[in-house]
């Protein structure tokens, strides 16, 4: 179990750094990490199985509850997959509303992440500032969609609620202006602060080669110089009309990923401004009555990266198979090259820097792929280790 001077530091399953339960076992030598083993699956709820029991309209609510932070990504993805299978054409207004909600969600998610990341390096004041500026977005959501989270806006064929743009337009623009100002101000306070830089620069480096090999997506990939963004590569919703400028950094460290997110937030603000300027009128849902035997793939650029759903319909309202791949699922394996060699103190911020959303991932365990070595130590074994009153200090 223990070899040499290694000390096992469990990071989780219940750890204040994460709001979700996951167990990362860090094998450390002194302060530096020599190996990691990740035991996930504390949030496995069997969503793919449950999706095979509900009708298509109900599955939208189920996939919405895969993850709370990106709670419009999964429904968008699922609805697009269903629409592809059915050959449905989404009305223009619905496409614009989807874009608006998705981009608002990206802003809320990135601000949330920025706050949590700074909390991870112990900078609580900026955490509070970021969340203070995120709050108006939540309130906007509450007014637009009826809830602060879980917007329940999408249905196959369009959106469920119309937006009263006449009333909401000034409010949205006001919040956007506030966020733009706050982000420019706070991003400076983050990126130019010497101590913050010391914690982020050159930490958790993921090279472009590794990024390709591990198939990472989203800001994690874009921070490593991979220019991939579903919004630009395979435009859906209204992104073709509105246009997206993909932000890429090449350093691949935590700071690069942070800056990518900051720039993306500003880009989202601009997309929203364009979106509400050019939103067309018209119906918001496309009617459908038949359920074909067909399959479809839906893709969406969630705040954390590319989200992909595969849906197979079997001629009934209940889908035959729903496959969900959340972005964190793709990004998690890349933690192995990112973590090894850095200190325990860096671990939370490196883990945080991929913006992990374990409830999306809801499964998984990491193997050190390079040498295939895994050491598993269950919680009970670990307790045993504690109970023997072998002070880890004395083991050294």
């Amino acid at each position: 179990m223990m070899s040499g001077g290694e000390l096992v530091i469990p990071l989780g399953p219940y750890h204040p750094a994460f709001k979700e339960p996951e167990l990362f076992k860090l094998y450390v030598d002194g302060e530096s990490i020599v190996n990691i083993d990740i035991r996930l699956g504390f949030q496995h709820r069997g969503i793919e199985y449950l999706a095979q029991k509900l009708t298509v309209q109900q599955v939208v609510f189920l996939v919405e509850r895969i993850c709370g932070i990106c709670s419009t990504s999964h429904p968008t993805c699922f609805c697009q997959a269903v629409e592809e299978a059915m050959g449905l054409e989404v009305p223009d207004r619905a496409r614009y509303i989807r874009t608006l909600i998705a981009e608002l969600e990206r802003i809320h998610s990135h601000l949330l992440w920025a706050g949590v990341a700074l909390h991870l390096i112990g900078y609580d004041t900026l955490f509070m500032y970021f969340w203070r500026y995120r709050e108006p977005v939540c309130e906007l959501f509450e007014e637009l969609t009826g809830n602060r989270q879980h917007y329940a806006m999408l249905c196959p064929g369009g959106v469920r609620r119309d937006i009263d743009l006449k009333k909401m337009r000034p409010k949205i623009l006001k919040v956007m202006k506030e966020i733009k100002e706050a982000i420019t101000k706070l991003a400076d306070a983050v990126a130019r602060d010497r101590l913050v830089r010391a914690r982020m620069e050159g930490i958790g480096v993921l090279t472009k080669q590794d990024a390709i090999r591990y198939c990472v997506v989203g800001p994690t990939a874009r921070g490593s110089g991979l220019k991939i963004d579903v919004r630009a590569d395979e435009p859906y919703a209204a992104y073709k009309e509105l246009g997206v400028d993909v932000k890429v950094m090449t350093e691949g460290d935590v700071l690069a990923r942070t800056l990518v997110r900051v720039l993306e937030t500003l880009e989202s603000v601009e997309i929203i401004e364009r979106c509400i300027d050019s939103m067309p009128n018209g119906p918001i849902t496309a009617e459908f009555n038949e359920y074909p035997v067909a399959d479809g793939i839906g893709k969406h650029e969630a705040p954390r990266g590319e989200d992909i759903h595969y849906v197979k319909l079997n001629g009934t309202p209940v889908p035959e198979r729903v496959k969900i791949r959340a972005p964190t699922y793709a990004n998690l394996p890349s933690l192995v090259p990112q973590l090894i060699g850095y200190s325990i103190a860096d671990a939370p911020i490196i883990l945080g820097s991929i913006d992990p959303c374990f409830s999306c991932t809801e499964r998984v365990s990491i193997v050190d792929v390079r040498n295939g070595r895994t050491i598993t130590l269950s919680m009970d074994e670990f307790n045993e280790f504690c109970r023997k009153r072998k002070n880890p200090l004395k083991v050294r």
Binding site: L7, Y123, T125, Y129, L195, I344, A345
Partner: protein, 323 residues
């Protein structure tokens, strides 16, 4: 020959000042930290009775000694922490001259001030938790790195006043003006403020109990009354550190003349202002810095801060006014 009433008076002094006044002022100072932080973070913050409620609640809770812990040390560590900081407070002059003053009290206080960290280490390693183990490791390395510059900075007023007694240092400052207004004194002040953050385990040096890395470090297994003692010790430590810095560099916490009401009032006000200045500086550093990584913190102490301390020490020998 010891008079019985002197012993009685000393005990009364210890009980009154040490056990009643010191913890209460300390808790009030922690409230200032929390409230100021909250207001600067756009929040309302806790009400003024909050620290007392926290401590009373913790004292009333169940006392748990984990199976994995070494019982006696686990129980004694928080007591040690609280006792030493209160003793440190008692030795220092605060408002009046302390009856416990003696030659070399500065040295004793410096040592007593590092005791809470040691107590945390003892308690942490007795609790047998891996997070605590990492916390202890970090605490230990941190102590090694900040004690040297701290002592060097403390030597500046000692050398200026040519005495190891608080009261002499204060008297020297009463004659020549607070030391912080000299160059070496100011540098020593900067060093002490940084070391103070580390001693109080506040950001950027809250490394041993980093909440998001190792939960609460050495305190992870502590609960109920034992945790309350640690919290109290921490609160008193806040006061002790502020007193130490004020006494050494800011002109001392003493009423210079007990015969004039005006002097008493202004001096009392000055005492409050001095402590508040130190506390608010600590709060600002705390709220506007991220936590450093252990190796960065050690590097900072060993390189920059030790260098500043050495510079202050050298400059204090220069026989020019305001050096």
């Amino acid at each position: 020959m010891i008079d019985l009433w002197v012993v009685g008076l000393s005990i009364a002094y210890i009980v009154l000042i040490g056990l009643l006044i010191a913890p209460n002022i300390g808790l009030f100072l922690t409230w200032i930290h929390r409230k100021l932080g909250a207001r600067m973070q756009w929040r309302i913050g806790p009400p003024i009775y909050q620290p007392w409620a926290d401590v009373i609640k913790l004292l009333s809770k169940e006392l748990i000694v984990p199976e994995t812990a070494h019982r006696a040390t686990f129980l004694l560590a928080p007591l040690l922490a609280l006792a030493t900081v209160i003793l440190a407070f008692l030795i220092m002059p605060f408002v009046g001259r302390t009856p416990l003053a003696f030659v070399g009290d500065v040295i004793v206080v410096i040592y007593l001030m590092s005791m809470p960290a040691l107590a945390a280490m003892i308690g942490g390693s007795a609790s047998g938790n891996p997070y605590a183990a990492v916390g202890v490791q970090r605490e230990m390395t941190l102590i090694f790195s900040y004690e040297l510059p701290f002592i060097m900075a403390a030597l500046v007023p000692i050398l200026k006043a040519r005495s190891l007694k608080f009261i002499d240092i204060i008297n020297y400052q009463l004659g020549n003006g607070p030391l912080v207004f000299t160059i070496s004194g100011f540098l020593a002040f900067v060093v002490m403020v940084m070391v103070m953050q580390a001693k109080l385990a506040l950001p950027p040096f809250d490394i041993p109990e980093a909440k998001t890395e190792i939960i609460a470090g050495p305190y992870v297994e502590y609960s109920g009354p034992l945790l309350a003692l640690f919290k109290l010790a921490h609160a008193v430590m806040l006061l002790v550190v502020a007193c130490f810095v004020s006494n050494m560099l800011l002109g001392g916490l003493i009423v210079s003349d007990w015969s004039s009401y005006v002097v008493i009032l202004t001096d009392l006000l000055l005492i409050a202002v001095k402590i508040l200045v130190v506390i608010i500086i600590a709060a600002f550093i705390r709220f506007y810095n991220p936590r450093l990584r252990p190796d960065q913190a050690f590097g900072m102490f060993w390189k920059t801060i030790t260098f500043i301390a050495a510079l202050a020490l050298i400059l204090s020998f220069v026989p020019i006014p305001y050096f």
